[in-house]
């Protein structure tokens, strides 16, 4: 049986173009997924929004003084706070959409906004 199929130059171009679109779309929809999360910091004097994943230290003023919030690539935490019991510091870092840290005495509220699929807290069998 003789091979009848002979690819023509533009067939390969078309294939490569479709492959490029596929790779581009994959990178855009899965690679950029984590970057679409937002960190919202509410304090007495207003609300601040940051992209989750950027490295930054934010100081906000509350009734008791200054609260320092550390934004890192893998999470957000409160590093120092003038409040008496430091519960906000002990809450540690938050990483997923829906998680939050609150410091009631100094009226600071930090949370992560986003549409990433929520995962289970725990499973038991």
């Amino acid at each position: 049986m003789k091979a009848i199929l002979r690819f023509k130059p533009l067939d390969i171009v078309a294939f490569l173009a479709a492959l490029a679109v596929l790779i581009g779309v994959s990178a855009a929809s899965y690679g950029g997924g984590a970057a679409s999360l937002t960190v919202e910091i509410s304090a007495a004097d207003g609300t601040l929004l940051y992209r989750f994943g950027e490295e930054r230290i934010v100081e906000v003023e509350g009734p008791l003084g200054s609260t320092r919030i550390v934004l890192q690539e893998d999470g957000v935490r409160i590093a120092s706070s003038p409040c008496p019991d430091k519960l906000c510091i002990h809450m540690g870092a938050i990483r997923k959409p829906g998680q939050w840290i609150a410091c009631l005495p100094n009226q600071v509220f930090v949370r992560i906004l986003g549409r990433e699929k929520e995962s289970l807290d725990a499973q038991s069998y």
Partner: protein, 174 residues
């Protein structure tokens, strides 16, 4: 079968083939309604070299209606997606086939058609149905589109150059 197939018979025969292949495809399970292998596009690929553009568009309309009837999706958003996707791919394929002529075979034409159809469906899905989350299915859609359109293009190219039936279709009075 010796009788020459005339102009409108050709549309009818190709549309019937679309309907049949659409039914075959309906038996193959699929995870999302508009994720298709696109078997029913085989007659459209063959028609590119046979029918003039208005008749090609009529064939695509019949294909879309036939598929929707078989799947019971005539009045759903899936129909809208299928309709727009089929016409986008049909126009792109006709343009590629005519303009690029001898530099491209049905394989390349098929791949370009799938690309057009998927892009059109994706844009509609994002705008009308799923919102931004629609982009999450994009890699799957393009991946399956590329694979199935390549195979389908190979099949169409082989069929086109070998089949006696196609030869009769080509030489029929038009």
């Amino acid at each position: 079968m010796r009788r020459a197939i005339d102009r409108f018979d050709r549309i009818a025969v190709l549309a019937a083939l679309c309907l049949f292949l659409g039914a075959v495809e309906y038996m193959i399970p699929k995870p999302v309604p508009f994720l298709r292998l696109g078997l029913a596009n085989l007659p459209v690929l063959l028609a590119l070299g046979v029918l003039p553009l208005p008749h090609l568009l009529l064939l695509i309309l019949l294909k879309v209606l036939g598929q929707a009837l078989i799947q019971g999706a005539l009045f759903s958003y899936a129909f809208l997606l299928s309709f727009c996707g089929s016409f986008a791919s049909g126009l792109v394929m006709a343009a590629a086939h005519r303009l690029l002529g001898s530099h491209i075979s049905l394989v390349g034409v098929s791949i370009l058609g799938a690309l057009a159809s998927n892009t059109c469906q994706l844009l509609l899905a994002v705008c009308l149905v799923f919102g931004g989350a629609g982009w999450m299915i994009a890699p799957l859609l393009y991946g399956i589109g590329l694979a199935s359109s390549t195979v389908l293009g190979l099949a169409a190219e082989t069929f086109w150059s070998r089949s006696r039936w196609v030869r009769q279709l080509r030489t029929a009075s038009g």
